[in-house]
């Protein structure tokens, strides 16, 4: 499904160079739910940004369904993100002027769906994560957990191949975090491939596989025997 080959990401900091991700290679199979774990500054989010085409690696390649995507133009990378990837950010990343349903509709409209089709699909997606009664609320009228669920609905509405979640529970209390994680598990059960960055071992342990990063390198790649 998605394969990283020798991904390296370096940053300049004054005269020195920081290697955030150091020659990382791994593959995620279709339907897998993996977590990328590690301490703060270990390079887990940076790795996710390279994988999800939000950033350009310094070297290395990313393949989606065996098609190289790291060499694509910005325009084509945007199209790949739109059509094949879904994103969930730590701070929900909803557009404040758009209601819950409009936030979910935006990528659908960009995919060329009519307003009616997008509206229907967005409503279905929100209902799926239990926000069917909050369709027309602005983000400011929703709690943090509800906003994150809208963000999940937006990420899955267009049925992407892979959903990337960057610390999706970092800003939530434990009860709400559990709800969000349960949604991920349900989505994965339905066949959705999910790559989640988290520093919380408790949530990482719920996924099929845990990649642990330290100083930009994968130091552990553990499969969860209790899953699948």
């Amino acid at each position: 499904m998605i394969r990283a080959e020798n991904i390296t990401k370096k940053f300049k900091s004054g005269d020195s160079e920081i290697i955030a991700v150091n020659d990382v290679s791994f593959e995620v199979k279709s339907g897998e739910f993996i977590s990328i774990s590690g301490r703060s500054g270990s390079g887990k989010s940076t790795l996710m940004y390279q994988m999800s085409l939000l950033d350009h690696p310094t070297s290395g390649e990313v393949f989606i369904d065996d098609k190289r995507v790291t060499n694509l133009s910005n325009e084509d990378r945007t199209i790949v993100r739109l059509e094949q990837l879904g994103f969930i950010f730590q701070d929900y990343a909803l557009i404040p002027e758009l209601t819950a349903i409009e936030n979910v509709m935006i990528p659908l409209l960009m995919q060329g769906l009519t307003k009616k089709e997008a509206d229907s699909k967005a409503e279905e997606s929100l209902a799926r994560i239990g926000l069917g009664d909050r369709l027309h609320n602005l983000p400011s009228q929703l709690s943090g957990g509800q906003q994150q669920r809208v963000s999940i609905a937006r990420a899955i509405a267009h049925e992407p191949k892979i959903v990337f979640a960057d610390e999706p529970t970092a800003n939530l209390d434990s009860e709400t975090s559990d709800i969000v994680l349960n949604h991920f598990l349900e989505l994965n059960k339905a066949g959705q491939t999910i790559i989640m960055v988290t520093h919380e071992a408790e949530y990482a342990s719920l996924t099929d596989r845990v990649l642990t990063l330290s100083d930009g390198k994968i130091v552990e790649d553990v499969r969860n025997p209790s899953r699948k």
Partner: protein, 426 residues
Amino acid sequence: MERTKRRISTLATSLSVGWFLALRQVRRSSIATTVLIIFVMVLTFLNLVVVRGILVGIIQGSTDVYKTGYAGDILITPLPKKDSIENSPSILATARALPWAETVTYRFVSAGTVEANYKTKLRETDEPNSAIGSIVGINPIIEDEATNLRSHIVEGEYLTLEDSESIIIGANFFRKYLDIEAPGLSLLEDVEVGDMVRLTIGQNTKELRLKGILQSKVDQVDFRMFVLDTTLRSMAGQKNFNVDEISIFLKPGSDPEIVKAAMLATGAGDFANVQTWEESLPKFLLDIKDTFGLLGNVVGSIGLVAASITIFIIIFVNAITRRKFIGILKGIGIDSRAVEFSYVLQAFFYALIGIGIGLAILYGFLVPFVTEHPIKFPFSDGILVAEIPNTMIRAAILMVATVIAGYIPARIVVKQNTLDAILGRK
């Protein structure tokens, strides 16, 4: 081919998504900010149109009264080196027979002197109380019908057909109305309506009663003295009926150019100088009109630049504060053109509403009000000139400037790195 098709389809979708975003951003933005931006747009539009309109209107007011109070739509004057319009009766008859003609008035003009203290002056060397100027012989009924001359009487009364012993004089011959000193300028002093004055034309003199004083903003009224046509002709010893000026006033909607052509087709051009009122305008007036128009354009352009910068700053601040959300939109796969288009549409919306309100104020209030209550300038009653085609051109210029001012900052922000925008990195 397939790629081009896809690009076109993506562009169309981007425009549609841009519209979706813009509509919601405008609808849910702060009312105070929206009102402020629209207010700036209204002021800019009015500045663009009204400043020039008033500057041009100062001269337009002057040329308008020149037309209505003197020249008419067509002014016929003697050919160069001729004292009067030859064959005048025939030309007058032709003019009156024109289907477009409403009123045709004629004037005999001669140089003359009016003296007030001729009875009390003891010696030839005594300072004369006199004024030298154009003496105009008119039919007071026809002239009033054409130019509404009667309405300019500020003291005394207008002439009647029986007033062969009377004169009415323009206010600029009286010191009390025109208190200036200039070489060669002599003005009448302490002369009141009812006083006797002596008119001299050539070698002939005649005592006349000052029946009225005229004041308007038409030099051809204020700097002239009027007597009956019969009085002037007898004093000038004129046997024929060749006049010096013929003013043709046309029915509303008639085209002076067509009437001029019709007059020339009758051969009138062989005996007289046939001009439309605009052609007969003194050149300095046209030059001033052009100059004021240019000044208005300069002032308006400065306003346009100021408004463009204002819109640029507003959109730039808006886009910068929303940099993170722009990054998120790009991150989730929204085409950057959709985001740019949403900002362009917002700018377009502000311009459209601002111009719409500006047009309503302009044509619903300002133009009718200033037409009804002209701005009183010393030399004219200034009106607000706002021809619709001219106004529309300015509206289009403002629209384009605003859209560009909205696009540039949006483009600057959208071009930034997506991940940096999402993470708030510089």
